[in-house]
């Protein structure tokens, strides 16, 4: 399970050693008490850790890491555990490092437009704390009420405003990390760049495999003067996709550009009554923000474009209440879909937008083949697709069937020139698909890179980057896709 790392300390002695670092209530080792830590947001995978710890200061984290390094105990860091790829799935012989107590905002500098926060601070809490200064933190993953900034860094989280404002990597300045060896390092700086390699970019999205983030300095932006959202209904998905391209070709970068297909929008409408046109094949939500003048000018142009692209209906939110209502359906799309089936499995591929219509058609065909409905929610502006596969875990074999369908969808994304994950991470979930997206040499380069940070392979081992054995097993399964034209293994450069 831990790919070569073997613990040299039995559980009792480990707990005793941890008690010398932490107060008794911060060391959890009883099997029942460990239950809440057995999974993250991808609850299909569960594993109780050997022990869980809840440190509350940097010094304790350093000591815990040194201890684990000395006795070669694997470590999995965990924030709010809202991740959707099993990246915080514990290891049976490993320590789970919860950063939940690191929940303080350490410093807000309105002049520098930065906030220095601990990793357990919730994403939305940052924007709330600086709202009175007219500032906010831009990345807004759908889980922003609950997810924490440390996890956002580990996953390079996005949100609905990525196209204009970027992902986590574009919105942070500095990290403090503790290495597996227990050393405290500062990555990045309070300035816009730092000498040497861009370790800040490398750490962001590294899924907790290179270091444990214990402090983050984020950039804050001025709250736009105004935001205006439009809703356009289409009777054809392809037309909706074309309209997205036309808006961008016209030189407009909307702050949000989201698409929902018929199944997703009807589920959302039934759930939150956002006023969506339920007979549409797809809707687009397009938001522009900026100064009053900018927004007025862009909104008029977008309205005309949407109509010219064959939208059957275009609505403009008349006030903030209506704007919130338009977004409410989109932000609640996942739970809304959750209401129409006992379980759903959320995918996260990215595709070049021009291939969207083709991808959706193929997903539709796969959906009928597997006999499982798929609802599609789409960050249309940046090509990030979230197909939601509906299934019933209580029906024997349905989970496996949903996973197979999910794998086919992700491999389809790779085939059309996209990627298996736009923002949820590889985690435990998509290890197989990494063998499809990357060649053996590329995966070996990733492993060499990890070794530079963690020579013993103790930090979140077994996630994100598959071992060679793993890929050869997957490839010998003889999956059709691996020999299909999209496969890159062994193909000429």
């Amino acid at each position: 399970m831990t790919d070569g790392a073997g613990s040299n300390l039995d559980k009792l002695r480990l707990v005793a050693a941890l008690h010398s670092i932490l107060p008794p209530q911060a060391v959890i080792h009883d099997t029942e008490a460990l239950r809440p830590y057995e999974c993250d947001g991808l609850s299909a995978y569960r594993q109780t850790p050997l022990v869980a710890v809840l440190p509350e200061n940097q010094d304790q984290v350093v000591q815990i890491m040194q201890l684990c390094h000395r006795y070669e105990i694997p470590v999995v860091a965990r924030g709010a555990a809202t991740g959707l790829s099993g990246g915080a799935l514990p290891l049976a012989d490993g320590l789970l490092l919860s950063l939940a107590k690191f929940n303080r905002i350490l410093d807000i500098d309105p002049v520098a437009r930065t906030a220095r926060v601990e990793p357990g601070v919730r994403n939305l809490a940052i924007s709330e704390a600086v709202a009175s200064m007219g500032l906010y933190y831009a990345p807004d993953p759908s889980s922003q009420i609950a997810c924490t900034i440390g996890g956002n860094v580990a996953e390079n989280s996005g949100g609905v405003h990525c196209l204009k404002y970027g992902m986590t990597v574009h919105n942070i300045l500095q990290l403090k990390i503790v290495t597996m060896e227990g050393e405290l390092l500062t990555i990045g700086s309070q300035s816009l760049d730092t000498p040497g390699y861009d370790l800040l970019a490398l750490l962001t999205g590294s899924e907790g495999m290179l270091g444990v983030v214990i402090e983050v300095t984020v950039k804050l932006l001025p709250v736009p003067q105004r935001a205006q959202v439009m809703l356009a209904a289409f009777d054809d998905v392809e037309r909706a996709a074309t309209a997205v391209g036309e808006i961008i070709a016209a030189g407009i970068i909307p702050s949000g550009l989201e698409m929902m297909d018929g199944l997703a929008l009807r589920a959302a409408e039934d759930f939150v009554h956002a006023g969506y046109p339920t007979d549409a094949a797809a809707i687009l939500l397009c938001e522009v923000d900026g100064t009053n003048e900018e927004v007025s000018a862009a909104a008029m142009r977008i309205r005309d474009l949407l109509r010219a692209q064959g939208a059957v209906e275009v609505r403009t939110a008349r006030n903030d209440a209506e704007r919130i209502s338009f977004w409410k359906g989109r932000k609640n799309a996942f739970p809304a879909v959750g209401r129409i089936a006992p379980d759903y499995y959320c995918m996260d591929g990215t595709v070049p937008r021009k291939r969207l219509a083709e991808v959706l058609t193929t997903i539709g065909r796969l959906s009928s083949e597997y006999g499982l409905p798929v609802a599609n929610v789409f960050h249309a502006g940046d090509g990030n697709l979230h197909p939601l596969i509906l299934y019933d875990a209580n029906q024997p074999g349905e989970l496996m069937c949903a996973e197979e369908l999910g794998a086919e969808i992700l491999e389809l994304c790779v085939r059309v020139g996209g990627t298996i994950t736009g923002e949820h991470g590889v985690g435990h979930e998509k290890l197989h698909q990494m063998c499809v997206q990357f060649t053996s040499a590329e995966l070996e380069q990733f492993r060499a890179l990890k070794k530079a940070f963690d020579p013993l392979g103790l930090l979140n081992p077994g996630k994100a980057i598959p071992q060679p054995r793993h890929c050869s097993e997957y490839r010998t399964l003889g999956r059709e896709v691996l020999t299909a034209p999209g496969s890159r293994e062994g193909s000429p450069p």
């Binding site: 700086s189 300035s191 760049d193 000498p195 003067q225 961008i248 407009i252 949820h424 998509k430 940070f453």
Partner: protein, 355 residues
Amino acid sequence: MSREFDNTIELQQAVISAVAQSRPLNLTGGNSKAFYGGEIQGAPLALGSHSGVVNYEPKELVLTARAGTPLQEIEAVLAQQKQMLAFEPPHFGDNATLGGTIACGLSGPRRPYAGSARDFVLGVRIINGKGEILRFGGEVMKNVAGYDVSRLMCGAMGTLGILLDISLKVLPMPQTEITLVQERSPAQAISVVNGFASLPLPITAACYDGLKLYLRLSGEPEAVAAGRNLVGGSTTPEGNRIWFDIREHQHAFFDSGQPLWRLSLPAHTAPIELPGKQLIDWGGAQRWLVSDAPAATIRQAAEGRGGHATLFRNARNRNEVFHPLTGSLNSLHLQLKRAFDPKAIFNPGRLYPDF
């Protein structure tokens, strides 16, 4: 398009033979930034012939080009579709290539408002130090599969691998751009420009030449007009020209044979007293200093304020161009270098003397 040629196989062979002979290579694109960084003892390997735009999808906001493609050519292709490289890269010569631009990781006046070169890198194809051709990232905006090797290449000065192809996010050109000028003291300039940055204004560049604060406003004509009323100041006959001059170091400030330092600082840092003259760009976050003061003095001044200093041009000692790395960070760099280039053949000494 001027030249289009896929030189991948020849470059790979050159690397494989260099590895076999443990022979270091000095990677050159258009040679426009040869002045930048440490001196390299290595056999020259010209990358400029690996050239041409491979894919450009204006509606996807993505461009992929071979590393040897001239920057001028890329900007011309984008301009036809009214798009641009939003990090506004300096060329420092007509021969500047995309590969050199990304390897040096340099960005122009728009950087604090739009993002840096690395912010716009979506994917790369490289040759690593084992002679393997590897691809990371891709042509899509959002991609978190595997470590972000693409962005790691940006600013690595070619020490981790040869860039073959680079995919970038591109952005629409603004419809209108104006430059407003106001007389300010150094302290006022820093404070005014940081105050503006906290407000939703369409500012896309801000510099200060010691007397005057220059602010560029970009966007929809209506937004620029409204912003102008809030920002104040007057336009001049030179208009937007100053941004080109500063970006390319063609402004009179840069006419000097003395060492030119680049100080990267938190934007709101109060003016720093150092021997020599200064020009403030990036809304306060990048300060150019022409000075004969000792390196240690300048580096201490920057470091003490949360920044660092690079000896950008006219270095007396080219082993001290980049701000030194301390203990553990230095060993981490050595480990990373080894992970990509185990035989240390790529640009040894260009970034730091010990790798």
